[in-house]
């Protein structure tokens, strides 16, 4: 593993915002070029970039993970995979991507990319919740005990926190169901 590659993988694993920022500066313009060459916009590039980093985060958590290529090759491969999938969904014919980088396929990424698309749908819904709901649900999903949640968020009681938790989760479920992508995913079956 190259030193830089290890540095960036560590940044992702440790949520090192300074290094992550440097990564955006170094690579986002290049990924953005690729996306725009293939019918996307700047906003698409940022979405794809972000999802790719999450995919790499998940991949690098595996105990047997080692970075065999240089970091950009991995990043480009994952972004290419994500964007290719998205284009394919909108098109009936086989999509051909215009590459601007010597591309080598990354093994074992397909499944993670599919998963990432589902996660993205949930995450987008989550982002539409109010700050308080986000905090509460985050603690709830991390299996923090209700009594502790009450303390952390300064709520009045456990029963109040439970009621809020239900309201927030119900809203999250509604938002997910209202998203067209959810219908597409359910149709595809699981």
């Amino acid at each position: 593993m190259s030193k830089k590659g290890k540095h960036y993988i560590d940044a992702i694993l440790q949520n090192d915002t300074r290094a992550l920022r440097a990564m955006y500066q170094e690579y986002l313009p290049r990924i953005s070029n690729f996306i725009r060459k293939n019918g996307g916009r700047e906003a698409d590039a940022k979405d794809v970039f972000q999802e790719a980093l999450i995919v790499i985060y998940k991949k690098s958590q595996a105990p047997d993970f080692t970075l065999t290529s240089n970091f950009y090759t991995l990043l480009y491969g994952v972004c290419r995979n994500i964007w290719g999938n998205q284009l394919q969904k909108k098109s009936r014919t086989e999509v051909t991507l215009l590459d601007d980088y010597k591309y080598t396929s990354v093994p074992g990424v397909n499944e993670l990319v599919e998963q990432a698309e589902e996660d993205k749908l949930f995450w987008d819904a989550f982002q539409q919740l109010g700050k308080d709901c986000q905090k509460l649900l985050q603690l709830f999903f991390a299996k923090v005990k209700m009594a502790e949640i009450v303390q952390k968020l300064g709520l009045s009681s456990v029963s109040y926190a439970k009621k809020k938790k239900f309201q927030c989760k119900e809203r999250l479920v509604k938002l997910v169901k209202a998203d067209q992508r959810f219908a597409e995913l359910s149709q595809k079956g699981r």
């Binding site: 972000q50 980093l53 999450i54 982002q127 539409q128 985050q138 999903f141 989760k169």
Partner: protein
Amino acid sequence: MEELYNKIEDYLAGDMSAADKEAFEQALQKDPELLAEVNLHRQLQATFSDSQEMALRQSLKEISADFSIESTTPPATKPFYQNIWFYLGLLATLLVIYLISRNQNLSNIQQEDTPTLDTLLQEDLDTSNTLSTIDSVEESIPEEPSIEEASPTPPIPNRADETTRDPFATNSVLEALLDPEVWSFQYDFDLNANVIELDEGSNIVIDGELTSTELEGEQFTIVVFDNQSQNYPSSPLLRQILRPREIEDNQPVAFGGKLRYSILLDEIIKDLEPGLYYYQVYMESEAEPLHTGSFRKSS
């Protein structure tokens, strides 16, 4: 509904007696809707359980927001944003120069029009023609360069295009945000929206109360959208700053010393089409709406 959620959560957490579990599983086999609901809850739990991933997503979102300007030509050698500001600065400078020179041109024409234009158009123009020539001189000045035009992107199919144009159709995303229940822990809105037809246009009145802990000069923004999904959240019909006014003789409400404030939006929009509209209240600098409501203008 709340009971159902609790049941599903207990089931997924393995927090059920053997008998309850068996009964629940039997119900699952008979009821595909319940099964779908359980699966969704399982997926949500799986997606949001990794707090480290949540923190990473949050950081990426924040970093990503700093790289927010459409780039037209990002050279890979220099820091991305510095270049963008450089181009924007250049653009602004050009625009200023263009505006100044345009003003000077126009005033030159206006002040000295007879001699200059006479020499140009000596032979065949009378005074009325001279006036129309001034117009066409103005029109022929090139338009200011636009950033968007500089990057032609191939059109991609937009999800919004598939939705109906029916002005009364519900917008599913906004509908999901509507809720009479308290939505934020801190701010509780109780608002009513009405449209009153006046000669000048449609008068949108949104008024009511906000119950909240003491507001220290905080400002809210109220935004009105039509029902078309491609317009939410980027293209509102109306955006106004709201300044809640404390209701006098205020007694703190319940625990937490909450106070009541009155809220009023009173705006006239010309040519408001009949249809379904939504409004949202935002806190300054927050991306998530605190409150969402809807109203109709009937045809």
